[in-house]
Symmetry: C2
Subunit: 462 residues, 2 copies
DNA sequence: GGGTATTTGTCCGTATGTATG
DNA sequence: TCATACATACGGACAAATACC
């Protein structure tokens, strides 16, 4: 944008000339770049075309730009670059954290390579974008398109045992966002209990929003309800179907106790984060907590980011009817954060059975990797035991040969292998030394799992 | 999802049978729907396939489902629907607000019919989805992909006179979201001044976040800086390039005064919402406020939702370097809210010049409608004057024949025409009776503008 | 893949204000 | 006072290249 001063003694064409020359010299306009056409620039600057022409002619004769008839003006390769170079030196390059490069990363998020249903997605995308009409491009429902909410409701009913009305569902761009939104709906000053260790993204989301977080211990069944009761919390954020990072599945009995805790006092809520429930390997499936909730105490969070791909920014939240009413009665709800095309694509993906097929395929893929991991870990029985193998795409390893978490992580790092210490997921002050690490196996190829685990066995042996 | 109780006296196959029968009777499974295959269901429930077969056989013999060899089981059209129907009656239909249906709506958001670049978007979408590799589906930078941030930075430099580093830009799903995020970055307890009347979505966003809002008056040049000074606010939310809803363009002098206000005290910030700047019809373009800001006081908000389509949920925020550092140093930034595909498509759309061409086309389209509106309004000079005609896609009409806002809106409504009273955009208590209404002309066809305006002329005459 | 509408550099005529002689 | 030259700014016409459908 060229700032013009109209009643200056410097003529207009000269101001334009000066500005563009400077841009070229400072290489803000690079060689070969097209200049705006004389007409367009004139219109934009509200001046005559010939004024622009004069400026361009001047630049032309001085060799800064060249003209291609009927095409446009283009910036020339300026020969003597002596006046530039300064700029690049001036600007301090923001140093990137030089993360060590790992040969293998037992990452806890991400999906299996090739696991995204490319073809189906592309096909549906084309389908959605081909349907004519302007509807696709008008602002939609702030809670999400009715179609996808209906489809999600049906999915939740059949796959997770959650019976809800589409009107209870809010579609949002990721769990982080939905938690922000939830915070708005619930009002400030909430005391939220979280399992410890827990999913730290959610922890920081809530901290950033100014919530008070009360870490609560857990045993092999999940969060300790007595401890929760004593904590004074009025909400609990839990992951019953597969706790992150500890990996336990909350059994029925504990679920009922938890639900009872919430129901025993008004305005108590449970946030059930069901991020992982699609992948389960052992034991009978247990319906989501929200499926047993008769009194509207459970807020259910689900996502397609884990099951489809992290870059697909679609999550959903099922609110108790009363909370949904609260939100809508606030007036001026926040605009929906997922583009309508993505919503429509995903709706078709669900409706036409692609999602189910995708899940079945991925279940098989992950089951394979899971079994491989289990087999290889069993060969390390003299070093460690493992748990969390009922679900999800990561395992928890506990050392019984005296190895500490820190030592295990460091040794692995030296060998070019990234593993994750459990203590990283402990809530703040309570960070203690542990003897456990996490191994996510979703992103690694089978042969890499084999190689990496073989190496880990070697370096973790005393 | 079928909840099974393992050590119940009811046999497993019977539990499955009962559950599915109930689903069919309550029409949660509809006629023609495919049941899960016996293999799949058995795997999911962790039971033997023959148990499922027994349940299916029972349903088959009772006519609830039919089997199609080599394909699957399908729900039959159940004859006597006497047991269902209840469900639909039970469920109270959430009554839709029965908005009167308008023949013509002078809506203030939305885009011209046919204004979305369908073909280009589809082409780029195909391009993006065709590029192989898993990169597309891994979680990206929390602030947005580097590519699109670079492209936006270049656009801002050339089109809005804002010089910023891509590292200062955050991509987010809509202004509502970015304001939430900004609130997290700035910390709580901010006193934010807003022009009055203003863009109420932003107002409510900030209110929902618990901000204290101080309405400040404005004259024909924009917000009154003295009043702002006296208000005690430490931030100001302004729309210098085209104030909504009043439509004035803030002249240079006032911009400088405003900037001086911000710079004269530490921790004062201006939020510049540049929602509308793409469309300008008269007068020389003025660079954005952020372009003059040397001391990092201006937070710039821009969006593609107005210029491309409301359903494209992509906005961007340029933060002063210090605030960006604050945000990143918080640790655990919020995940990006725009899907990577949308980001990539938009990046190409910007890079390959589609956006510029699109803007030029839309500028022409809106200029046409704008001129038409102005012409028709001039014929109504005995009824009203108008203003805000320098930019944007709406005009402000002020009556001088004694007509009040309320009366004008009601008369129009009776004639099936939706117009918007200015007082709707006044901040809370200060809602007063006005004699002004807003006419957005983006979504109406030319001939409809003509018809609707002719009718308005008739009904607004005394 | 082919036809049409739009965009683009180029050329040209004109208007205004100023300086000069 | 007038004629001339020059600098600056405006807008229309033309043919080729390009974009779009």
């Amino acid at each position: 944008m060229i700032p013009l001063i109209e009643d200056s003694r410097v003529p207009l064409y000269r101001q334009i000339y000066d500005y563009i020359k400077k841009e070229i010299q400072e290489e803000k306009m690079k060689a070969g770049e097209k200049l705006p056409s004389s007409r367009l620039l004139a219109k934009n600057l509200c001046i005559s075309r010939s004024t622009v022409d004069m400026a361009y002619d001047q630049l032309l004769s001085e060799g800064y730009i060249e003209s291609v008839p009927c095409k446009g003006y283009y910036v020339c390769q300026v020969e003597g670059l002596y006046f530039s170079k300064k700029k690049t030196a001036e600007k301090p390059v923001r140093e990137k954290k030089n993360n060590p490069v790992y040969r293998w990363d037992f990452a806890l998020n991400g999906i299996a390579s090739g696991g995204f249903p490319h073809n189906a997605w592309r096909k549906l995308s084309r389908e959605v974008l081909s349907q004519e009409g302007d509807g696709l491009f008008q602002l939609g429902d702030p809670c999400g398109e009715p179609g996808i909410r209906q489809a999600v409701a049906e999915y939740l009913h059949s796959a997770r045992g959650v019976d809800c009305d589409p009107d209870q569902i809010i579609i949002g761009a990721g769990n982080d966002y939905l938690l922000m939104l939830l915070w708005v709906i619930l009002g400030r000053n909430r005391k939220i209990a979280m399992e410890n260790p827990t999913y730290l993204s959610a922890y920081y989301d809530l901290i950033h929003m100014g919530c008070q977080i009360l870490p609560v211990g857990q045993d092999s069944q999940g969060i300790r309800v007595e401890e929760l009761e004593q904590s004074g919390a009025d909400m609990a954020y839990v992951m019953p179907s597969h706790q992150f990072p500890m990996g336990m599945v909350m059994p029925m009995k504990r679920r009922m106790e938890l639900l009872k805790w919430a129901q025993s006092k008004a305005e108590r809520y449970i946030i059930e984060d069901d991020y992982d429930s699609e992948f389960r390997y052992k034991g009978q499936p247990i319906p989501a907590l929200a499926g047993f909730d008769q009194k509207g105490c459970v807020i259910y969070l689900g996502t397609f980011s884990k099951s489809l791909a992290p870059s697909v920014r679609v999550s959903y939240m099922v609110l108790p009817v009363s909370l949904m009413d609260t939100y809508l009665s606030l007036g001026h709800p926040f605009s929906v954060t997922v583009s309508k095309t993505d919503q429509k694509i995903l709706e078709l993906f669900l409706r036409e059975g692609y999602y189910e097929r995708h899940l079945n395929r991925m279940r098989a893929v992950y089951k394979n990797k899971h079994d491989l991991m289990v087999r290889l870990l069993k060969e390390m029985a003299h070093i460690c035991t493992f748990s969390g193998e009922n679900a999800g795409v990561h395992l928890l390893v506990r050392f019984h040969n005296g190895l500490t978490e820190r030592e295990a992580v460091l040794r692995a790092e030296d060998a070019g292998i990234k593993v994750y210490g459990v203590s990283e997921y402990r809530i703040l002050e309570s960070k203690t030394e542990e003897d456990q690490v996490l191994l996510g196996y979703a992103t690694l190829k089978d042969e890499d799992i084999e190689k990496a685990m073989k190496e880990l066995k070697k370096i973790w042996e005393n």
